[in-house]
Symmetry: C2
Subunit: 355 residues, 2 copies
């Protein structure tokens, strides 16, 4: 595929590969009977969310009210804020405004958070999902301790819609599959507790791209989001092949010696994420043996195996960030290429909408 | 100091502390007879660059042409692009346009890079500094091998202004001070080689905030930039105290249990940098014993010592990013507070200008 001759570094999405990924995800979720509600924090791009809906998504997931404002403005009408928002009066006002234009659900993980929402939201059409901890130990309450939260929602006439969890510990090659089992177990326990107490649990929401690989039933929806674009972490977790990755950064070699090339894409366009188990600071498209051994803000140092090509200043490479969600959040616009269309630009419209 | 009641998370600069840091840096560089040319990639804020000039800086340093375009537009007239730019015709055209409005110098570290600059720039007022490697092993040539580069510049009638290095290996608690010695040694070797060959080395540019601590003489200028705002890395390298850090992120506790609080500032506002020697993903202002044990895009998990306060959802904390340069690059605007002025906003005008 021809790349436009823009000044490097710049971020590019291969639209054909993206569409392939969306179709594969649609097939996989249909086969398992799980609805797809992709986390759009991965891409923050309304055009891409609309493509996901066209490929069967029932709505999208987001983390912040600011992101939701962008996507509602872009015509998305079903959004789950999978986050235990602390609703100050001003945040509640913003969220209530969104709920007049879209179907909004949000997360809660404490009685205090529900009391706060009740006091600031007043009467509302917003639905609530209780977050449970399935082993990632971030937010979420003990799945055995959900009943007081459901009771508090009922007490305030707030609508209880279901339970959710994020098995973030799936982001480790050794425990990816046990995390997936933990996810199902936590949602099952919470559901049993709540149904025994007379509550109807209409949504059991889980998912991450790695855990989706082995999840079997029990979930009603997956919030997996990275599957659409992919990144080096997914390659190294063995949940995607390097060829499946649809986002890369086009970069120029600015300095080289022996088997080492330094390119002009650094952490300010790639993101600084590096998990303890990662082989480096990202990967190099088409060069599976190359390793990114160092990264600073505008330099990335790539070591190629001895037998590989020698790189010279001015050569062009494409690198894959470790974590696509943070890489996308660094740029205002992304170039979209396709085999049979002229390059386009998509605005990363929800970039930086942290609050 | 009172903080404005904005929706969290948001990034804030304490202007009084910033001015204190600028004055201390001015005193330190004056005392050592080293000019200050701060790297403005740290803040990307024209107002802050003008404050640095008012505190004695002779100009600023940047890494990309896009950044330079923003700062030249904002009236900065002396810019060193301390980067071995590969000048395609389009980049050369942009750089030449800047050179009609400001005094521009740029880095080179290869004969190929100089040949490319000569072929695309033509006749130019831009001056060149040769980058040498002082032990960080990123870009920069061997300081003993600088003569062919100076000769190539002369051959093309390009102006040679001096040598520079970045002792990035100073970012390690064990070798901070030896890195500082390496920096001086590399610049001295390169200068000796070039002066022996008859070249005048009018600038010897070095510096990083950690290495500046022990640098003694030899440099004509320091490009240290982080000193202005500070960050958790500087605290943990023992080059600044936590009280010296002028930038923090105001964040709300959204979930808590026992001695652990989860706040709404994650890697999308803090940055994902974490050096191997860091104690965690940042620090907590006013709580030197607290540790940030986990971070995802919108969650940061803080563990407080057993004897500390218990945090509840809705409580407000201020966290300090590990690496301020990347944290600043995540937000469009920063709130500036001061004991005796109303809060202001500064635009991070050069955010995302990677090319």
């Amino acid at each position: 595929m021809d790349l436009p001759a823009l000044d490097t570094p710049f971020t590019v999405i291969d639209r054909d590969q993206l569409v392939t990924n969306l179709a594969a995800h649609q097939a996989r979720t249909l086969e398992r009977g799980i609805a797809s509600r992709p986390h759009a924090k991965t891409h923050k791009i309304p055009e891409l969310a609309h493509l996901q809906l066209a490929h069967g998504a029932v709505g999208i997931t987001l983390a912040t009210i600011g992101e939701a404002e962008v996507f509602v403005d872009a015509g998305i009408t079903d959004i789950f804020l999978a986050y235990p928002l602390w609703l100050t009066p001003h945040k509640a006002e913003r969220l209530a405004a969104l709920a007049t234009k879209a179907h909004i659900t949000m997360g809660v993980d404490s009685v205090a958070g529900i009391e706060q929402a009740a006091s600031t939201l007043g009467s509302t059409t917003i639905g609530f999902l209780i977050e449970v901890d399935s082993g990632h130990h971030r937010s979420g309450c003990d799945p055995r301790a959900v009943e007081p939260l459901a009771a508090t929602l009922a007490h305030h006439n707030l609508r209880f819609d279901g339970v959710f969890t994020y098995p973030g510990h799936s982001y480790h090659p050794d425990i990816r599959d046990t995390a997936s089992m933990d996810e199902v177990e936590a949602l099952t326990i919470a559901t049993d507790v709540l149904e025994s107490a007379g509550y109807t649990v209409s949504r059991r929401s889980g998912g991450s791209t790695p855990s989706l690989h082995t999840t079997q039933g029990s979930l009603t929806e997956t919030r997996a989001g990275v599957y659409a674009l992919g990144d080096a972490q997914q390659v190294e977790l063995n949940t995607m092949n390097m060829e499946d990755v649809a986002l890369s950064i086009v970069t120029t070699v600015v300095s080289s010696r022996e088997n080492t090339a330094v390119v002009d894409a650094g952490s300010k366009v790639m993101g600084a994420d590096r998990a303890s188990w990662a082989t480096g600071h990202g990967r190099v498209l088409g060069h599976p043996d190359a390793r990114i051994v160092a990264m600073s803000e505008h330099h990335t140092t790539i070591v190629f195996p001895d037998s590989g090509p020698k790189w010279e200043p001015g050569d062009i490479l494409r690198v894959i960030p470790n974590h696509v969600c943070n890489a996308v959040n660094l740029v205002d616009r992304i170039t979209v290429v396709s085999a049979d269309q002229a390059p386009q630009e998509w605005a990363v419209a929800a970039r930086g909408k942290n609050s």
